[in-house]
């Protein structure tokens, strides 16, 4: 088994320490748009990163394979590709595959190969669980089991592009100017170690859930132990990873609405809860009792995205900056206002939410093709799985 930690956290620190800039754009009409403003906006915050990591998540880019999982896999070694492909082909129907197109860029040093595979699980492989669970299994198998391979992203009709370099460099390298998506998130990274590794850049993802994050999660130690209890292997040892898994556990597996997920991660202070009226008061007390180990403490600002939705969230006492603006159809979230105004000087709305108060952006229902179908009721199977503490 390979040790991802040695790649991402080579010095075995408690976690990877980093700071950064975040920027996100959601076209609320669900129209696919160019990422050009996103590149300009994130590169305007160059001082917040240090050139050792940049990345993007883009939604709506593979409409021709909208029903297929798009696995974007990074290879440090061509042999690893053979191994991955033979693993995948045994378990999935691969509808298409190609090397992710790149452009020669001087600033990019020793890039890995990145391939993408559009696939669906084959019948007969792990039929007892959902397709999502099977894809997650494959991601974990590859990431942990196959040397020199790492899955960047695994959602449908979306992709994560990331690497070592300033974000604008990464965008140029992956020719992101040629893509159009309705939701873009971007991250500029300031890691404290130099052995930055392409897989360690943000966004972090699982299925179509992606997270970009600024800050340090001081509660990482307990968040991680709680998640491990639920079967998540925090192999990258970075605090951002736990954000992705918390959302996956609560929103996907436990099917809690996003409004509760954000209240679990950044709950109101007890004294505020005590002032609330019933039944809200009791509900929040219950949330804090049950999910106390998922309170995300310490300075953070993050954008969590999946199809049709992005959520900006701050820690409870807003120790990291986060601003939001709406201009025309677009909702922007940014570490700095200047970046929003740079790409959209005339905003219809601008605000900077209080700590723990999420910025929720959704594609308007009149463009339902983007949306995942409304969440199904929890099936009996799922219930059984949940009760058994179903492991991913």
């Amino acid at each position: 088994m390979k040790n991802l930690r040695s790649l991402n956290n080579p010095y075995r620190d408690d976690k990877v320490f980093e700071g950064c800039a975040i920027f996100a754009l959601l076209n609320q009409a669900g129209r696919n748009v160019s990422g050009e403003p996103v590149f300009r906006a994130i590169s305007n915050m160059r001082n917040r990163g240090n050139g050792l990591g940049g990345g993007f998540a883009v939604y709506g880019i593979y409409p021709e394979y909208a029903e297929h999982y798009a696995l974007q896999v990074m290879f440090d070694d061509p042999l690893a590709r053979e191994e991955v492909e033979s693993y995948l082909k045994g378990r999935f129907e691969v509808a298409d595959e190609e090397e992710v197109p790149t452009r020669k860029t001087q600033a990019v040093i020793h890039p890995p190969q990145v391939f993408r595979y559009f696939l669906k699980p084959r019948a007969g492989w792990m039929d007892d669980v959902t397709e999502d669970e099977r894809v997650i299994r494959a991601v974990m198998d590859i990431n942990i089991g196959i040397k020199d391979a790492f899955v960047f992203s695994s959602g449908k009709n979306m992709g994560v592009f990331k690497g070592v370099g300033h974000p604008e460099t990464i965008a140029e390298y992956f020719r992101l100017d040629e893509y159009r998506g309705y939701l873009w998130t971007a991250h500029s990274r300031f890691p404290t170690n130099s052995r930055a590794w392409w897989g360690g850049a943000h966004p972090f993802s699982i299925l179509d859930w992606t997270v970009i994050h600024n800050g340090e999660i001081s509660s990482y130690g307990i968040n991680r132990r709680y998640l491990e209890m639920h079967g998540y292997a925090c192999t990258l040892e970075t605090d951002t990873e736990v954000l992705a898994y918390i959302v996956d556990l609560l929103a996907r597996r436990q099917r809690l609405p996003m409004s509760l997920v954000t209240k679990i991660m950044a709950p109101p202070l007890w004294e505020e809860i005590e002032r609330m009226k019933e039944p809200e008061r009791s509900e929040l007390i219950k949330l804090r009792q049950i999910y106390s180990s998922l309170l995300v403490n310490g300075p953070f600002a993050c954008v969590i995205a999946h199809h049709g939705e992005m959520i900006g969230l701050n820690d409870r006492i807003r120790l990291r900056p986060m601003t939001a603006g709406i201009g025309g159809e677009n909702l922007y979230i940014s570490s700095e206002e200047a970046s929003i105004r740079l790409v959209c000087p005339e905003l219809d709305e601008f605000w900077s939410p209080q700590g723990g108060d999420p910025i929720v952006g959704r594609v308007k229902p009149e463009s339902p093709e983007i949306f995942e179908p409304a969440r199904p009721e929890v099936s009996d199977e799922d219930r059984a799985g949940l009760k058994a503490g179903g492991r991913v």
């Binding site: 620190d13 320490f17 001082n47 300031f190 404290t192 130099s194 300075p299 990291r320």
Partner: protein, 499 residues
Amino acid sequence: MKSYLPPEFIVERREDRCIRCLTCVRQCGFETHVYDAEENSLLSREELCVGCLRCVTLCPTRALTVRTNPSESRPNANWTREHLRDVCRQAESGGVILTGSGNDKPIRSYWDHLFLNASQVTNPSIDPLREPMELRTYLGRKPDALEPGEGRARESECPNVRIETPLLFSAMSFGAISLQAMQSLARAASEYGTLFNTGEGGLPAELVDYGKVAIVQCASGRFGVNWEYLNNSAIVEIKIGQGAKPGIGGHLPGEKVLAKVAETRMIPVGTDALSPAPQHDIYSIEDLSMLIYALKEATSYRKPISVKIAAVHNAAAIASGMVRAGADMIVIDGIRGGTGAAPKLIRDHVGIPIELALAAVDTRLREEGIRNWASLVAAGGFRSAADVIKAIALGADAVYLGTAALVAMGCTICQKCYTGICNWGICTNRPELAKRLNPDVAARRLVKLLRGWSLDIKEILGGMGVNAIESLRGNRLQLRGVGLEEWELRVLGVKGAGE
């Protein structure tokens, strides 16, 4: 309410030697000694005695002895006298126990488990008394190469500061220490060719001429920080943390904020000078970078910018981030570092020893190829030149001396700095007490200490067969460990003795 606390010390007065000169009465700021004129007798209110030995030292007939109160409750290895006292103090006050100075617990001193090398046969030792022996050190970022290429630091962006010995005086703020004490440090630094540190209390008007040898701090309280202060300096230091109290701020009580302190800190007389725990413009590594460059902008890129942190668990990763954030000098202050006031619990339990942190930081910066980007200064309880030499061999460019400098001036480490009363005139602002420290005397003693330790360093260098401090810096082959576990040797990056 009657206190259940027994006196910590007892005062013994030999009647046959006491001449009733009343020096003890006059010298005790804690008012331990009382003269009864009617009886012509001297009494001791021992519960007030802090064991600073001022009276003992000044008693002209050596009539006084102060010692730990020998009264013992039932011996108990778990419930020590200290634990009993602390519970009692908190039961009586309901507050946080304050203390001063550095950690007094028997934390393993790795210095005592590291041994130095000397030349024998295969190379000659050098006689430092007659042959040249160079201790000069430059603090600041060094360019990657003489002809820097694309993307590297340009020489013009690498201001460096010269010191003649790798010994710096650590940060002690005016307000916490007396003007006289700060003056003594400034004068000694100037005379010996090294630097003192203003701490976060500003630079008193009297010491403006010593700006050239001042490391001026910019800390969370921003006391006394303005353009003149930043630019009248050798180095500007951002203080994030302090070894004695990682993670918490400072608190100079209002009663210590007298006119002169108020003027220097630029706050009204009598208000508490609170230094928040964090700098509120630094909540993340990129914010540190922001302040570093704010200071570089404000000083037109002419001053090295130092960043000081307490030695904590992830010091290596943090230090690497600090260097990448633009710090030209980084300071790591270990768990034995001193303070004017800190909650006792934090002083004694938060942080890690400087030896391990220093080694880890130096190793990390070298692994990442960025050791040259910043000078590395170690701080926290250096007791002798031997500790200093070992720190330099582990990787430090220089060390900060705090407690040692105070002791040279007279401090007996009674740990009552936080009371504002210091019988030795060091850690006080009461004029009648502060004048007990004569800067002429104290500066002279400090210079002698610097000279003595520098000579010690030269002797050891000579014995190792090198004649410049840079040949010792980071040269861990000159160290061997004894009595250390495998992991400790690994972190320190030294071999076991005999290996």
